[in-house]
Amino acid sequence: MYNAAHASLWKRRLVGVSVLVTSLALLAGCSTGTGSSGSTTITLSMQQTDVKKGDPTTWAIVQAFEKKYPNIKVTVTGQPVAQHNQAIDVAAQSNTLPTMFWLFSADTGKKLNKAGALLDLNPILKDEGLTSSFNKTVLDSFSDGGKQFGVPYQALLTGFYVNKKILADNGLTQPVTFDDLVAVSKALSAKGITTIANGASQSSFSVWAFLTCLDRFGYDDVIKDILAGKASYSNPDFLKFYEALAELQKAGAFSSNVATQTYNQAVDDFANGKAAFLDSGVWASGQLQSSPVGKDTGFWVGPQFSNGVGEQKIVMNVVGAPLAVSASVKKGSPEYAAVEKFIGFYYGDAGQQIFADNGQPPVTTFAPKIASSNTVFQSVLDAAKGLAVPLAQPDQYLSTASQNVMYDSIYGVIEGQLSPQDAVDMVQKSIAANK
């Protein structure tokens, strides 16, 4: 005879067992550490949602590393920059940082280092024989209080990609000076062609070429005084830079939807032949090489200013963001050994050659072989040859809050929302408030 209470009891037991089994299965799948077969899993968290497409260099390095070390698995995860930064902050608070991760800036790295969240990489660099593979200034950028809290992720070689075909089809030549750029902008704007592809939405940091222009107005010489309160960002030289930006804006150099367009959409516009210039860096060379405009794409380090300050023939070719390792990776553990091997591979000759194969310059002193088909990457390297290099990208001197205000000041003028004076004043106000 059917007993309802008995059936109910067995139903509850079945549900309880199912929940327990499911929980155990989930827990088994979610951990780093050493598996039962002796393999070690480490995590690498990056600033791209699709690392395979958006950061092919890192993806290729991980694949090659896993092939060389089949007992080490690297789980690569990624989110857009803002979400990645937020996730790292939350993870640092809860001691759940990934094994290795990209950091937005040296400033963030120093803060995490002070909070004891990052591993000192000096022993790893020494054990792997890498200390002399870098220029000293490169490692100094990511050290604090004697600790090496980060190692360079990729080079920050920035400027404008140029669609030479658009220029040629319109009877124009590649600009050299700022006045040349204004003339090109007016000519292209009259024909409804976007001169410079930029995208401010969710990517306010995408003003690399214009940050370098600040260095053409003496930024490197005065920034330390500005930060010490002995000078002001709101000065006549920087004002000239922003006035130049305003002149470009009036000449119609920028797309009418620069405020609502993302950086990736700007890249797509350029890659599909809809813009003559793209404000970007060497990391985009691989993507552009395989685009419809690959064969027509060159590189330009940016305009020289007749009213500039100091050396005008400069190129931004510095180290960008660091990679860091969580302090929870203990020396002697399988994860530490795996991280050591990964860093050794990443900065070794094999890893750095992968950089070059994917259109990235090495971050060590390694001299790579570059395939002749990699014309876009070669044009970047050719454009940068022999030029003076600033100490760092201008935003790297500032706190995160002031970096964002600096980006806003540039895009504000580009979008026609800020006057040059308001732009310099707002950056000065932020620097003074965020010392």
């Binding site: 930064n85 902050d89 909070a115 939405s201 405020a259 609502t260 964002n404 895009y411 504000g412």
Partner: protein, 292 residues
């Protein structure tokens, strides 16, 4: 027979919800309030700074801009959503062919994730590639409005997209409320010669007072929570001119890594939302008491 109305049994039944409420509502609010008084950067040990974060916010022109934008979105949304959704509910109440499908279609935008709503509407409102401006340009308009990415229409566009995604949900609440109205009162008024307008205005609306209040509070609280829509539609731009309170709070807290001011922001938003919602309910109760 087992009596459940003893105090300790009632307490036992309430405790799980109370625990959940404490853990997921009271604790985060308290946590935010604590860190709003510090120089917290997201990790590490913060130092106490008193009300400095609040002073920083109140002296930030972009805070006031985001508050103004939120008020603009709130006013437009409440003024449009409440009457429009009520009117739609009255319409849907009539029996006609396809009423059920039409109800589902009107409700459909409410189930699309806000981030996707923002993404869809970028391709409609973008000043260069958007459908609206492309149609206007084809129609001969030489300078179409800058719906998003411009200095003034951003909040209005956010409000319109919010209305599009919310009116169906509000209509459903009103529809449910209309279904529960006693039919004999309406019938009696018909016998007395009342017109449909008189029935609606003098009988239906007063009897639906609680539903109007609940809908207004829901719309208000949802406006205060707008984030993904702004993030995807305008990015808060140009240069934060279309930020709402929550989207600017996100920028201050996570993008600029200023967790102390960000938490202060969260406390301010909580207080503002509570004042508006409770204030509206109190006003309604006062009117109800006066009528009674």
């Amino acid at each position: 027979m087992i009596w459940l109305s003893t105090r300790w049994k009632i307490a036992i039944m309430v405790i799980p919800t109370l625990l959940f409420f404490t853990l997921f509502v009271v604790y985060p609010v308290g946590y935010s309030a604590y860190y709003s008084l510090t120089d917290f950067i997201g990790f590490g040990t913060p130092a106490f700074v008193g009300l400095a974060n609040y002073a920083t916010l109140f002296s930030d022109p972009l805070f006031w801009r985001s508050l103004l934008n939120t008020v603009v979105v709130l006013v437009i949304s409440v003024v449009v959503i409440i009457p429009a959704s009520f009117a739609l509910a009255l319409l849907m109440r009539r029996p006609f062919r396809g009423a059920r499908m039409l109800r589902a279609l009107v409700f459909a935008p409410g189930i699309i994730a806000p981030i996707l709503v923002g993404l869809i509407w970028v391709f409609i409102l973008d000043p260069k590639i958007g459908l609206v401006n492309q149609l206007l340009t084809h129609a001969g308009v030489s300078s179409p409005p800058i719906w998003i990415g411009g200095p003034t229409l951003g909040p209005v566009s956010i409000a319109l997209v919010f209305i599009w995604s919310t009116v169906g949900f509000a209509m459903t609440i009103f529809y449910a409320g209309l279904q529960l109205l006693p039919g004999d009162v309406i019938e009696a008024s018909s016998l007395d010669g009342a017109t449909p307008f008189q029935q609606t205005w003098a009988i239906t609306v007063p009897m639906m007072r609680e539903t109007f209040a609940i809908t207004a509070v829901l719309v208000t609280t949802n406006v205060f929570k707008i984030f993904e829509l702004v993030y995807q539609l305008t990015g808060g731009g140009p240069i934060h001119k279309s930020e709402t309170l929550v989207s600017y709070m996100y920028y201050v807290t996570f993008t600029s890594q200023q967790y102390g001011p960000g938490m202060a922001f969260a406390v301010i938003i909580t207080v503002l939302g509570a004042i508006v919602s409770v204030g509206y309910l109190a006003l309604l109760r006062e009117r109800k008491d006066v009528v009674a």
